[in-house]
Symmetry: C2
Subunit: 186 residues, 2 copies
Amino acid sequence: MSKNLEEKTVKKEQIFKGKVVELEVQDVLLPNGNESKREIIYHPGAVAVIVITKEEKLILVKQFRKALDKVIAEIPAGKLEKGEDPLECAKRELEEETGIVAHSWTKLHSFYTSPGFANEIVHVYLAKDLNKGTINLDEDEFVEKIEVTKEEAEKLIEDEVIHDAKTLYAVQYWQLMKGKVEKGNV
Amino acid sequence: MSKNLEEKTVKKEQIFKGKVVELEVQDVLLPNGNESKREIIYHPGAVAVIVITKEEKLILVKQFRKALDKVIAEIPAGKLEKGEDPLECAKRELEEETGIVAHSWTKLHSFYTSPGFANEIVHVYLAKDLNKGTINLDEDEFVEKIEVTKEEAEKLIEDEVIHDAKTLYAVQYWQLMKGKVEKGNV
């Protein structure tokens, strides 16, 4: 069935290599033989964690996001270190940001956040069987942990405090799961 | 309740200004008085459209994404032109990519795709009351329209053909809506 949709790279130019992102401009050959340019952001990828407590509350972290110039509430998340296993990263980020250690982990989905211009992929986990650990934030990380009921989460969406793709996904996942998941205990 | 989480910009440097993205590096003052650097991608924003046909199929477009070097299936979507109204953009992109004209439009949500490094926001609409229009792709746009049942969409997620945030959101929205929405007719 499939049309040929592929674009072949003719030339690559690295514009920037930073701590978090790399930017490359590519000349590509389109399926019709024409050339075009693609601006591509390379990102190491990230993990995000859905935690529902035994009181049926979702764990969120409030964080200032310079790209948006505002504070939003997100599920715990973090960037992958080079070569890091996503599950190990998820365990580390959850404990560092929230002081929660989870003993049961289920991979839910991975998704690309912005396939039109970036290769960032987010691996989402559901974490259960919760214990207390130790909050240990990175030196330049300032976050505030909150816990919200489903109704509070829906209100935060309406108020655009929950305002990013992975956290909207998490709330929808919660709305869909309807007691399918055993509750944790923290 | 809230801690001070804000980061103040001390200095900005524009690294790149392209057709799609701009890259800026900012020196910021953290809440504890330390300085740090933030790499920020500015993007014009985008729209995405959920269309369910009267046969209860979701409209997707297959498209090669150079940032991922693969073809994925996404809900119809497109970048905002400078100053363009998101709803007008959604109507335009839907007809251009799929040949569908919709007469009833509901704004569902907006979400940031990658708040850690980019200001891209996606405005998602539900389009109903469907008629045939005219496919009219941009010169450098190569897409293939497909229609999938809910079961087929779930299989595409499993196979990572549906593999981006907005389309996963759309499938979850569909799973949650359970006949709440009148069906369209195309």
